[in-house]
Amino acid sequence: MEEIKDTFLHPVVPLDFQNNYRVGAYLQRYLDGFKEKKILGAKCSQCGRVVVPPRKYCGACNLVMEEFTELPQEGTLENFTVGHVNLEKGQWKRADAPYVIGMVRLDGAANAMLARLNVSPADARAGMKVKAVWKDQVEGEHADLDCFEPA
């Protein structure tokens, strides 16, 4: 058998770029609310459901949602997973300690948000009441809402 050689084509892309996804009008309102430590949702004028973060359409009613409404900062942990690794530069790294990521439904919201939970895996329970924890300095960014902890 002839030896298989590693001959590759490596076209060089002489460009340095990143994608710049605009969050759009609805997420912008949500992030603006973070500056006052408020969590805003959008309310459907037909079915009355509130979704958080806000989005333009209520899919069930096929209607534009025009009303923004503030949600309470407490809710229920609906389910969760426990992370043991972090992703750094595309590689798994063992986390310093296992951590909880869960789906939190704020009181009055139709949907759950994905959030980090400041609770030990041993103490996490589906159905437990949780509340939002903000960073001391808020900038109007997603990271302002640091995590949820038991209420």
Binding site: L9, P11, L15, G24, R55, C58
Partner: protein
């Protein structure tokens, strides 16, 4: 197969370099809602959606699923096309097949590009792998200076081979590319949905723009645009109930040859300006539309021209004039809005290029001319039959759609 007609069109309010006020899906929803408003349809009237966009340009691989609610498509059939520059017309053909086959009574083609959120050149690098491999087999060192020179200008570099070959074969000069680019930028100034508009554009002004890769100057090249377009198609029975004016689909076709700038056919390098797929797709679409001589029977043409020479080159390929004749028609003023062979009254792709929409806009602009609803850029002559051309994928994929003011006799 049953008759299908275009009953409605929706554009975003503007086509510009950067839509800073909306996200990708919010922008798509503007066109969808404009289409519904223009036809008086409710979201539940749309039976199926065919979505078109080139994922690599924004790095968003499943935009049709992200946009599902924003186009009122929850619980409905959706499919997506990604065929490069031809996407918009491929999506249109997909919607046409849905209705013609009886699988849907009303279908919507939804297309967009939001170039400002990604990098078109990076996207193109992910598309041209077959092109690079074909260049290797053509003996070009794509890793070295000459190869990178050819593709360093992105598709502008690649297309320069096609443009120079077109000039050589047709007897046209670079001044004709300047002149057609100027004509289209002037036309664009009359189209509210065009991007680069210059009512004062002249060949002399275009000739002053920098050379990129001979014979392509900066002024011959399309912009990168943010925008979305939708087109609503209906069966003959539904169309009669819904719309006052309908542009009927008389014939569609698409065709490819082997990859590459060099227009490889059967692995043989041929003339990059030969563009057999355009010739073959046009012949097939005309046959389906019952058209014997497009020169005599087609009143209006929209050509996909990411680069200005393509208007002239493709007019010859699709059979709207003889080879070597397009630049003479241009000189005689026949390609203008008041000419005998008006082309790209919209301003063409060279004035507006949100890639996902670009080949669909060729169809919708033909439809507007047939319906008499093109406004300030309505051409002088009556348009009974029109031809829309799409190009792109690599260098060698073409789509054709022929529309008419009357349905086809079945």
């Amino acid at each position: 197969m049953r008759n299908v007609g275009i009953i409605g069109i929706g554009y975003t309010p503007v086509f510009v370099s950067k839509r800073k006020d909306v996200s990708i899906v919010e922008m798509i929803s503007e066109a969808v809602d404009a289409g519904l408003k223009n036809t008086g349809l409710a979201p539940e009237d749309i039976d199926a959606y065919v979505f078109g966009n080139m994922a690599t340009f924004e790095g968003v691989n499943m935009p049709h699923l992200w946009a599902t609610e924003h186009m009122h498509a929850r619980g409905k059939p959706i499919m997506r096309f990604a065929t490069g520059g031809t996407i918009g017309m491929a999506a249109f053909h997909g919607a046409y097949y849905h209705v013609a086959s009886g699988m849907a009574d009303i279908a919507m083609a939804v297309t967009y590009e939001k170039h400002s959120e990604g990098d078109a050149q990076v996207g193109l690098m992910g598309i041209i792998t077959p092109e690079l491999m074909a260049m290797l087999s053509a003996g070009i060192d794509v890793t070295g200076q000459s190869g990178m020179g050819a593709i360093g200008g992105g598709s502008a570099g690649g297309i320069s081979f096609q443009a120079s070959s077109y000039l050589h074969r047709s007897g046209a000069g670079i001044e004709h590319i300047d002149a057609i680019a100027a004509m289209e930028r002037r036309n664009a100034a009359k189209n509210p949905y065009a991007h680069l508009k210059d009512p004062e554009a002249t060949a002399e002004k275009i000739a002053q723009t920098p050379m990129v890769s001979w014979p392509i100057r900066f002024g011959h090249i399309c912009p990168t645009t943010d925008g979305a377009t939708v087109c609503i198609l209906a069966s003959e029975e539904k169309a009669a109930k819904i719309a006052d004016k309908v542009a009927w689909v008389l014939g569609v076709a698409n065709c490819a040859s082997d990859a590459t700038t060099a227009n490889l056919i059967d692995s043989q390098i041929t003339d990059p300006a030969e563009q057999l797929p355009a010739i073959m797709a046009s012949k097939k679409a005309c046959e389906r539309a019952g058209i014997e001589d497009p020169k005599k029977e087609i009143d209006y043409v929209e050509i996909y021209n990411g680069f200005a020479h393509q208007t002239l080159m493709y007019l010859e390929k699709v059979g709207m004039c003889e080879v070597g004749e397009a630049h003479k028609l241009l000189e005689a003023g026949e390609l203008e809005m008041n000419g005998r062979c008006p082309v790209n009254a919209s301003g063409g792709v060279v004035s507006t290029n949100s890639i996902g929409t670009s080949a669909l806009n060729r169809v919708t602009e033909c439809a507007l001319q047939i319906m008499g609803q093109a406004g300030e850029h309505q051409v002088e002559k009556e348009v009974h039959k029109a031809m829309a051309h799409g190009w792109g994928g690599l260098m060698q994929y073409c789509t054709i759609t022929i529309l008419g003011d009357k349905p086809k006799k079945l």
